[in-house]
Amino acid sequence: MHFTINGRAYEADVDIRTSILDLCREHLGLTGAKKGCDHGQCGACTVLIDGRRVNSCLTLAVMHQDDEITTIEGLGQIGDPHPLQEAFVRHDGYQCGYCTPGQICSAVGMLDEVAKGWPSHVSEDLAAPLLDDGEISERMSGNLCRCAAYPNIVDAIREVAQAEPEGRTADEKDAAMIGEVLA
């Protein structure tokens, strides 16, 4: 089978049953996408296929040989991070880090959906949704984080989504925290 992942062509001789998640993790050395449940119940495996966020665990590799697949490794790397990767670090939008690649891929896909004007379950006006914290939380609810970095994840995404952040920026928040903890 042949694949295009992160702009690079791959050939792999894999079992017909192989998911994109297992293809990446077990055959191509791309272990960024994580397996948390293998059943579409946690979101840790989220990747982008043709720009859309999907659960790669519930996606047969054989069905996506002609598509552009993007994993966390393709969004940005150490030293050359995607703005959301940077924001997750600044806002501590993770703890153990296991759900993090999925969260970030999901956030990238989610912001693209917002840009297209797609509504969510909590949009009052389906035709003109506004991206407030409640919207970010609802739209990111397909990504479990047991460490529960949720408030920080929302902060990170909000900061990237808004040219002029409404809430406090990470630096301002840090300054406030320094005041609180330094004797």
Binding site: L58, L60, G109, S120, H121, S141
Partner: protein, 326 residues
């Protein structure tokens, strides 16, 4: 997951031809089928990939309705401006289901065919007449918090898990299919699902190899629409109870009512008695209560799901209050 033969279909006609072997299944989004295959609850010998069929558009129909391709992803359907403007209940139901990732993958046709989330259906070590006909039902007498209170049988108390299908039922959608012999047929959603009876493994009237190609929506209904879903967490959970409602008012009275329910039955539930209790009535709490009573008149709890009766009653009354402005 057992191994399978994989074929990719280029046309609906090729798809129904390819499927004509024992144990063959269509795969579109795969979000439910692969989930079940991993557990060997589903063990197809062959998968016919229909995800690339040219059935992913939403077109205006001649009767003023919409013709939705079976391969349209749930996300795209929910965000379609025509759906938002004229079929809000459908958009809302879709958005209440699953997660952003799953909606991006799940197809409209596949969503109608979701299997139950019954714990025992999912567990090979349990008895389940739906998974293994004749083996028994461990849900009866077991943990059945999420299971059905309407339309059940002594053989099965599973619920249909879809939100979208509930809205489709309220909208009187029609399922358009292509049969293996090349015939096409249009199945009103009213006739599409089957009650479990003593064959809970047969869930729809689809024949072997019959392919859903489209879902047709009639012209937009008059009145206000809403979808209300009650679940155990704020998002990413299946419905305990959901209500898809369409209510039209004329001269202070309810002129048309269409109400469908999720979480209660083995199929997206609709009961003419509920609507009959409302049509022609002024929007009063008494009328709403009568409709709610009609809904649960034949309902039966199985222990841990007894609460669904009062919950369904209350949710329906609140939906009616909102839709009528009472």
């Amino acid at each position: 997951m057992k191994s399978f033969i994989y074929e990719k279909a280029d046309t609906p006609e090729a798809a129904v031809r390819d499927i004509a072997t024992d144990g063959a299944r269509f795969i579109a989004g795969g979000t439910n089928l692969l989930d079940l295959m991993k557990l060997q609850v589903e063990t197809p010998a062959k998968l016919v990939d229909i995800s690339r069929l040219d059935l992913a558009t939403i077109d205006d129909a001649e009767d003023g309705g919409l013709l939705i391709g079976a391969m349209v992803p749930n996300s795209d359907l929910a965000a379609d401006p025509r759906v938002i403007a004229n079929y809000e209940v459908l958009s809302r139901a879709l958005l209440a289901g699953a997660s952003g990732q799953l909606r991006n993958k799940a197809s409209t046709g596949g969503n109608l065919l979701q299997r139950t989330r019954c714990y025992y259906f999912y567990d090979l070590a349990s008895r389940c007449n739906k998974r293994s006909p004749g083996s028994g039902c461990d849900a009866i007498g077991g943990i059945n918090r999420i299971l059905a209170v309407l339309g059940t049988s002594e053989h099965c108390i599973a619920t249909h898990p879809s939100d979208m299908a509930v809205a489709m039922r309220a909208l009187d959608a029609t399922i358009v299919t292509l049969k293996a012999d090349g015939d096409r047929r249009r199945i009103p959603i009213h006739d599409f699902y089957r009650l479990p009876g003593d064959t809970p493994h047969i869930e729809t009237v689809l024949e072997r190899g019959e392919l859903i190609t489209h879902i047709a929506l009639p012209k937009p209904p008059s009145g206000r629409q809403s979808y209300r879903k009650v679940r155990d967490r704020a998002s990413y959970a299946f419905a305990l109870v959901s209500v898809a409602g369409i209510i039209g008012m004329e001269s202070g009275r309810i002129a048309n009512a269409s109400l469908a329910f999720g979480g209660l039955g083995p199929m997206p539930w609709r009961d003419p008695a509920v609507e009959a209790a409302l049509i022609g009535q002024a929007p009063t709490i008494d009328a709403f209560a009568a409709a709610a009573d009609a809904l649960v008149a034949d309902a039966k709890g199985h222990g841990s799901n007894d609460f669904k009766l009062p919950l369904a009653r209350r949710t329906l009354i609140a939906v009616l209050r909102d839709l009528t402005g009472a």
